[in-house]
């Protein structure tokens, strides 16, 4: 079960998944990112402070947007990952493919860079 909130801050779209993203709930994340892109956002933050768990279905959602975001010059930055969630990204080396930082302040900086 995941609940996904969204907010805007200084022209940056912030997506906030709260709960667990697995094969059953990854569609929610997928739809939210797709919506954000279709609305023309070019700066997207993923606030992971409330994300308790992610399986490959959720990781695959992030992976599937890498190319489209490069083509459309969209920057996406993840921040606030719990230790165990960060470990899941690291096992696969996704921390080298995605921009992941610790704090919201760093993320707001990174997304503008």
């Amino acid at each position: 079960m995941v609940q996904i909130k969204r907010m805007q801050q200084d022209g940056t779209d912030i997506i906030i998944p709260v709960g667990e993203i697995d094969a059953a709930s990854s569609i929610e994340l997928d739809l939210t990112i797709a919506k954000s892109i279709s609305e023309g956002n070019t700066r997207i933050l993923i606030d992971c402070t409330g994300l308790e768990y992610i399986s490959s279905a959720g990781l695959g959602v992030f992976m599937s947007y890498i190319e489209e975001m490069q083509d459309k010059n969209i920057r996406m930055v993840l921040f606030g990952l719990h230790h165990k969630v960060a470990n899941t990204f690291n096992i696969l080396g996704l921390n080298r493919l995605l921009t992941i930082v610790q704090t919201k302040e760093e993320a707001l900086q990174a997304v503008k860079a």
């Binding site: 079960m1 667990e20 697995d22 094969a23 059953a24 990854s26 997928d30 768990y53 399986s55 490959s56 279905a57 990781l59 695959g60 959602v61 992976m63 599937s64 890498i66 190319e67 489209e68 230790h83 165990k84 470990n87 899941t88 096992i91 696969l92 080396g93 996704l94 493919l97």
Partner: protein, 138 residues
């Protein structure tokens, strides 16, 4: 002691599977990081079986068992009818996953990274997938 959990092949049941694994492992003083990796690997194996071998039919059941021996965890997925053999699948590279925009394929990489072995066998007319992981001392 061997714990067992029988579950229908709806992906809505993955959450219950994760709770079962956590509950079975916590009393053994295994580190939270190792528990979370085992939970992840079993979630991936279960969702693969549900989706690819049972088309998410909630009436199809399979059984999960978990047993801690002194230095390792042994998990089995026991299925009457079907099997999803991850060893039969070539792992896509990360580059292929990006360029093909595939949202699957990462799970197999995760399982193979986390578990020490994934073996398949027939037992009493059932398909058994046996996963083992050596525990790191904490």
């Amino acid at each position: 002691m061997k714990h067992s959990y029988k579950v229908g092949c709806s992906i809505q049941n993955l959450r219950g599977i994760r709770e079962f694994i956590r509950g079975a492992l916590r009393p053994f003083g295994i580190s939270e990081m190792q528990i979370s990796e085992l939970v992840l690997a079993i979630d991936e194996m279960s969702s693969n079986l549900m989706i690819h071998a049972h088309q998410c039919n909630p009436d199809d059941l399979f059984e999960l068992t978990i047993e801690v021996q002194h230095d390792k965890v042994i998990v089995e997925l026991v299925d009457e009818k079907n099997v999803f053999d991850i060893n039969a699948f070539k792992e896509p590279s990360l580059g292929e996953l990006i360029s093909e925009k595939r949202k699957g394929g990462l799970g197999i990489r995760l399982v193979k990274s986390i578990m020490d072995s994934v073996e398949y066998q027939q037992r009493d007319g059932h398909h058994v997938c046996r996963l083992t992981k050596k525990l790191q001392k904490t």
